[in-house]
Each structure stands twice: as C-alpha cells, then as structure tokens.
C-alpha cells in the first residue's frame, strides 16, 4: 500500500457559526490524483486554503511526509514541496510568461536575497523556467504579458507557476473553472501529463474531468467528508447521488 504524502487529522475551520471545514480526516497517497468534489459552499476552497497555509486551522492537524505542518505559513509550505493554484486565475500583472516562470523557478535558489547578478543568468533558474514553460505548453507565448493572455492560457500559466517551484504535491483549485470546451480539454490533457510524475489534489466541478483523471474521489458536503472511494464507487453511491450528483444531472 502506498504511503500518504499528506494526512489530515480532524481538520476544522469555522467562520463565525459556520463550520466551513468540519473534522476532516483524509489521506492523500503519493503518486495519485485525488479529487475533492462537492456542491458550492461545501468547503473545498477552504480545505485547500488550510492545506496551503492561506488560512489557519481552528482544530486538527496536517502532516506532510510525516511532519506536522499545521501552523506553517504559505511560503514555507511551498518550499517544503506543496504547490497550489488558485480558483480565480492570479497571474502576476506586469510580468511576461517567461518572467513569471523564472520568478517561480527562483525558488530553487536557497534564497532570493541576491542583489547583483541578473536573474536570467542563473543557469538552474533558466533551466527550470524553460522546463515549466514546456510543461504548461506556453513556450510559444513566452514573451506575452501575463495580463494579455486568454483566460485559458492564464490557467495554463498558473499551473506552470506551480510546476516551476518543483512541488511534490499540487493543490489545484478548479483549474477548469470558466474555460470553454476546447480550452478545458487542453487543460485536462495537461493535467493528465502532469499526473504521471506528481501527486495531485484536484478540486473540480467538471465531473467528466474528475472521473477521467482521478484515482480517488472525496465528496465534501457542508464541510464534512461524505464519502471517499474510487470514481466507480462514488458514481454508484446512493448517498452521493442524493447529496450532490442528483442536483447536477437532470
């Protein structure tokens, strides 16, 4: 049996009286695509925010490769190997694709408190940025300003930024949100290629994409885990159908 790369034990987060994430216990296994699905407001983004350090947990703990990282801030988690993308594309305004990826690739330097040598003269940074540019299939758009990209391209660049930090675990929050049919297909294809070498936690509403990519699926409803299983099990589960899939499919 594969060892978990990330383990959540009783993880909770409240907003006032609302239990956005309620005692979630889960294990994400190394080398797999694990999808987290659930209706709007189920707490999926909040869960990712807890895992990436954007939000502090009220209770429970998170263990990354055995180390307790519950209180670690986002920059430390990124350096440890947890990369994340955001639900709305958050490209860095004013930078080109290449500059964006080179910045992300700088995370391979022990510190970026370097004041003299231009960043494009660090061979390791260049190599990493170039690799990420290819992996997110944006090589042809290298000199385009991030804000001039189409929405689909922005999402690809967003994934490229995560890849350039050489993460062991990728947390992706709705990478297909807002994409047209063809753009979504391109990103699914991209995710499939990334999944070969990485562990992915995928939050997504697009069920076709989820069932075609994921090896494991967790259904979250009202902040609680309703069920975890293989795509086939989830599809067949009456509880899930009632709570979630039923609403979506006519």
């Amino acid at each position: 049996m594969a060892e978990p790369i990330l383990e959540l034990r009783g993880l909770s987060r409240r907003f006032g009286a609302l239990r956005a994430v309620d005692k979630v216990t889960l294990a994400f296994e190394r080398g797999r695509v694990h999808a987290v699905i659930g209706p709007n407001g189920a707490g999926k983004s909040t869960l990712l925010n807890l895992l990436s350090g954007e939000l502090r947990a009220d209770g429970g703990s998170v263990h990354f490769r055995g180390e307790d990282v519950t209180r670690a801030p986002p920059d430390r988690l990124s350096r440890l190997g947890i990369g994340r993308s955001f639900q709305t594309a958050t490209v860095l305004e004013g930078l080109t694709c290449e500059e964006t990826l080179r910045l992300a690739a700088q995370s391979c330097l022990r510190s970026s408190m370097r004041f003299f040598r231009p960043s494009d003269r660090y061979p390791e940074v260049n190599a990493r940025a170039e690799r990420a540019l290819g992996e997110c299939r944006m090589t042809a758009r290298r000199s385009a300003r991030a804000k001039d990209l189409s929405y689909g391209e922005q999402r690809q660049l967003e994934i490229g930024m995560v890849l350039a930090t050489s993460p062991q675990l990728l947390l992706l929050d709705e990478p297909l949100a807002g994409l047209g049919h063809d753009e979504a297909l391109a990103v699914v294809d991209l995710l499939r290629a990334i999944a070969v070498e990485h562990t992915l936690v995928l939050v997504e509403h697009d069920m076709d994409a989820v069932f075609s990519l994921a090896a494991a699926v967790t259904v979250l409803v009202n902040g609680k885990v309703l069920e975890t299983g293989t795509p086939a099990q989830i599809r067949a589960s009456p509880a899930v159908r009632e709570a979630y899939l039923g609403e979506e499919e006519p």
Partner: protein, 315 residues
Amino acid sequence: MTARQRVQALLCAGALALLAVAAVGDRFWLQLFGKAMITCIFAISLDLLVGYAGLVSLAHAAFFGLSAYALAGLTNRLQLVNPLLTLPLALAAAALAALCIGWLSLRAAGVYFIMVTLAFTQMLFYLFSEAPWFGGSDGLYLSQKPLLSILGRPLLDLGNRTAAYLFIFAALVLSYFFLSRLLRAPFGRVLAGIRGNEQRTRALGFSTARYKLTAFVIAGAVAGLAGYLDAALYGFVNPAELGWRQSGLLLMTVLLGGRGTLYGPILGAFLLTFLEHYGARLTDHSSALIGAVVILVVLFLPRGVAGLVERGGRG
C-alpha cells in the same frame, strides 16, 4: 530606436551635460544641478518602494533627514570629518531607522501603511524641531564639510564646489546602477512579483514580508545617501528636511516622472527642481504653479513624463 535605446541615449546625453556643467564650473549652476542630482538619488530610492514594491511610503524624508543630522552630529560633536567614517555611519543610521520604522509600519497594509509612515515622519519632525540639541527649528550648521586627506594631503574636499559636485554625480551614477542591477536580480524579481500579486508570490515560496522590509531598508539607506550629500553640499541641516511635506513633494516627483522606471523619477527631479527655482522667480505662488503642472501631468500623462519618452514624444 526602441524605447529602451531612447532611454539609454537620453541618460547618456544627460550625464554628459552634467559633466559639462562641472567643466564650466559656474557657482550658480553647480549648486542648482547639484541639488537636482541629490533629488534624483532621493527620488529613485523612493521609486524602489512606490514603483517596484508597491509601497507608498511617506516616511522617506525621515531617512534623508536623519542621515543629514547624523553627519551634522558626527562633525560638530565628535569632530569627525573623514567621509570614509561619516558616510557609512550616516547610512547605517538611516538604514537602522528604516529597519525600525519599516518593521512596524509594514504590519499595516494599503492606506494604513501610508498613515503609519506619515505618523512616524510627523513624530520625527516634531522631535527635531523641538529638541534643543538638534538646533530646534533653526537647524544646525556643519562646523566643517567632509574632508578626506591622506598623510596631510587633501584627497577629497567636499568644501570645494566642483569636487562636491563631481562626488554627487558619482553617487547618482552608482545609485542608479546599483538599483537597476538590483531590480533585475532575483531580489528585484520578487519585488515585481509582490507588486503583481503578493499572495501569489508568497505561495511561490517567498516570504514577502522579509522582501518588503529589505526593500524598505535599502531604499532608506539610499535616501540617507541623498541626505548626507545635501548636508555636505549646503553645510546646513534643518527639520523641514525630515517632514511629511518633503515626503509628499518627493512622492509627487516620482509620480510626475513616472514610477516604476527609475529614469522617470530622475526626469521628474530635474523638472521639479527647475520649476521650483524659476517658478519662485516668476511668481510668489510657485507652489500653485507646481501643483498645476502635477495635476496636468497626472491627468494627461498617467505614466508620467517617462510615458512620453517611451512613446517617442509622439504625444
């Protein structure tokens, strides 16, 4: 010509013109251009914060003024005249003040950051205008200007007008290269990321708070260099130099010239220095004249005078 080449040509021509002023050696021009170059150093240091790190600081005059007072104190009380001692000490004082003020004010974000930096500047202004050891609101004269001599032979005498002018010129050239290198280095790229989207940059593994504080300290030290040169050029310091009015005027200089370009604030500094000087000759209301120019530029040239250069002056 590309925009980049045009900027380089402009900077080279400007540098030659400044050297030509030194060759002519006219007292009035040395003083006016010397002052303008000091404002340039001061303005590009603020541009690092406003234009690159996205931090609108009104505390910047504090570092300029503290360094100027540090020179006055070291000269008058400790009889230190060697710039190899006084310059590093004055810069260290400015950097240390920037570390303290930055550490506290960077806890606030957005408009609160602006307010906190303003409050610090106000406090220092009152401290220096009220306290008698600093000469109060009248300010202080330096008992002697910085002088570097080896074996009794003067090597660099900032009391000499031309030498001081050339020293300021060298300081401007060095500051410009230092900052433009720094902006292309990994550190500067992280600042660009922070300006684009701080949360995203943090998620890429950069402790953005530390980078912002470091930028604040570096900018404070460079502002300190400008303050040191100002005190050395005029042989006089006064509390207005570290007031919020000076901070605000500098912010106007940066916006007028075009923030986030380094050379824009240089253009802005020359423009404002001349406007102030000739405006005061033309009218008693030179502040209103400057205000009108700033309003026109902000309305019609949102990227400052630098925007004009980049479009090749085609309007």
